[in-house]
């Protein structure tokens, strides 16, 4: 692995995306539009102030998961990955290059989503806005990292899309959006305590309500970071130079 090849790959991925303005547009505004829709649906209630933080965790996470897994899968199927792996390209360079490129996009996307939720939809944040932003970015990065990992196990676009319900939906269902996690049946509650998205939702809700200390939130943030690093490492280990 060399920084030169990692950065070259990240730059290349960003150049590719730049040539596709529609994707950039969708990537940056879709999460905000969805948050706006949720806010609108619950206009006359105070539900949005409860689930708004979770929405900031949810939509960027899903969008980044899909975009990342599909673009790396495309690389597998177009033969460019085979070419790269026959060249002096480190497996880590490839995965990390993608993570950096989409991580950068995730920062912009999250900044827009958080700003939109707070200043347009009127989501009230009692705690630090910076902390909210940090957790939201980590969460979008988590989507990217899991997307990289998922594409390693998918053989077709169809399978990648199937990974959504398998990897992402249970995390949403068990994340405490539909029902607080402590009211889940015990077995599910234990499972939910291990799912990375639960940490993100907990942390965002804690920042919004200013219900926990900064240390508590930073601890959650570190767990999410561990998941990101773990997925990236696992993603590069599972990448094979030789294929059957």
């Amino acid at each position: 692995m060399t920084p030169m090849r990692t950065l070259a790959t990240a730059g290349r991925v960003l150049t590719q995306i730049r040539h596709d303005p529609r994707t950039v547009g969708l990537l940056l505004v879709v999460p905000s539009l969805l948050i706006g829709l949720v806010a609108w649906i619950f206009t006359d209630t105070d539900v949005f102030s409860d689930i708004g933080p979770a929405m900031i965790a949810l939509f960027p996470f899903i969008v980044m998961f899909l975009v990342t897994s599909i673009s790396t899968l495309r690389e597998r199927r177009s033969g460019t990955l085979e070419r790269l792996l026959s060249m002096p390209m480190g497996k880590g360079d490839f995965i990390l290059g993608y993570a950096l490129a989409f991580g950068l996009l995730a920062i912009f996307q999250t900044a827009i989503a958080v700003s939109f939720a707070v200043w347009v939809c009127g989501l009230e944040i009692e705690g630090s806005l910076w902390l909210l932003f940090a957790v939201a970015v980590a969460d979008a990065l988590l989507g990217t990292a899991l997307g990289l990992l998922a594409s390693a196990f998918a053989r077709s676009e169809f399978q990648v899309v199937q990974f959504m319900p398998v990897l992402v939906f249970p995390q949403i269902l068990l994340g405490g959006i539909f029902i607080p996690r402590d009211q889940l049946p015990e077995a599910l509650e234990i499972v939910s305590e291990w799912l990375p998205l639960s940490f993100a939702i907990d942390a965002l809700q804690a920042v919004a309500g200013d219900t926990e200390s900064t240390e508590w939130i930073v601890a959650k943030l570190l767990v999410i970071a561990a998941w990101i690093v773990g997925s990236i490492v696992l993603g590069s280990i599972t990448l094979r130079r030789r294929t059957p």
């Binding site: 030169m4 090849r5 070259a8 790959t9 730059g11 290349r12 150049t15 590719q16 040539h19 596709d20 177009s78 033969g79 460019t80 085979e82 070419r83 790269l84 792996l85 026959s86 060249m87 002096p88 390209m89 130079r241 030789r242 294929t243 059957p244």
Partner: protein, 257 residues
């Protein structure tokens, strides 16, 4: 089975008893062959005969069941070989949403070649006029030349080209063979696959393949002599009828040159 690789000490590629299984069925069966240095070797056979699989094995991206492959004296797939070999996959493996120049600039940085290499390979593959266009907007022939140009970055010693001339117009095909010849004259070793038999005569040596086995590993002249024809397609048929492959060591046939 005749083992011709012993007789080829200076070979760029030596394959011995290579067996590859894909999707549960054996695709290559106890294959042995040698590719001499500085030569153009044509790998010819019908679609599905195992040409791509053999090339992938030589490049080191194919899981192999048994056998050994040496490239430039190193086991295939060695890290040190990755800058010394160029591989062009059967489908043009370039980024459609990058321009020709952006594609080459990226691969150049991965290979670690000097920046001037981009212009050199653009010129050699005649892509000057389309260098600023998106690869996805090019014709099939142009895209495959971009793919070829990427493999020329860093001036590799061994080039493995999987059907590089497929679907090209005849003028372009002649030009490309001219390029291959000049690369060989500069000392590169080229293994070029094709399912079009009439490309055979432009090669120095032929590997004729059918169903994962070799029908011939010989010079072009040698194959034609053994089969008593002047047409490689005919030779292919006669070798099938004969039921015995024409495997003559490099030295033996080199002496005839």
């Amino acid at each position: 089975m005749v083992n011709n690789s012993d007789a080829a000490p200076g070979a760029a590629v030596i394959v011995e008893n290579l067996t590859v299984v894909r999707g549960g069925t054996p695709v290559l069966d106890q294959l042995s062959l040698a590719v001499p240095r500085g030569r153009i070797v044509g790998l010819l056979g019908p679609s599905g005969s195992g040409k791509t699989t053999l090339m992938r094995a030589i490049v080191g991206v194919q899981v192999v069941k048994s056998g050994t492959i040496e490239v430039l004296g190193l086991p295939a797939g060695s890290r040190a070989l990755r800058t010394r070999m160029g591989y062009v996959t059967q489908q043009a493996s370039v980024y459609d949403d990058l321009t020709v120049r952006q594609n080459l600039a990226y691969f150049r940085r991965i290979v670690g070649a000097p920046a001037s290499d981009v212009d050199r390979v653009i010129e050699r593959t005649d892509l000057d006029t389309v260098a600023g266009r998106l690869a996805g907007s090019l014709s099939g022939g142009q895209r495959s030349r971009v793919s070829l140009a990427a493999a020329l970055l860093g001036a590799p010693e061994v080039l493995v080209l999987d059907e590089p001339t497929v679907g090209l117009d005849p003028v372009l095909r002649v030009e490309l063979w001219g390029l291959f010849r000049s690369l060989a004259d500069d000392g590169a070793t080229l293994l070029i696959s094709s399912h079009v038999m009439d490309e055979a005569k432009r090669c120095d040596r032929l590997l004729l393949m059918r169903d994962g086995r070799l029908l011939a590993d010989d010079s072009v002249r040698g194959v034609l002599e053994v089969t008593g024809t002047d047409d490689v397609e005919q030779a292919f048929l006669r070798l099938i009828e004969r039921g015995e492959p024409d495997l003559r060591s490099t030295n033996e046939t080199e002496a005839q040159r």
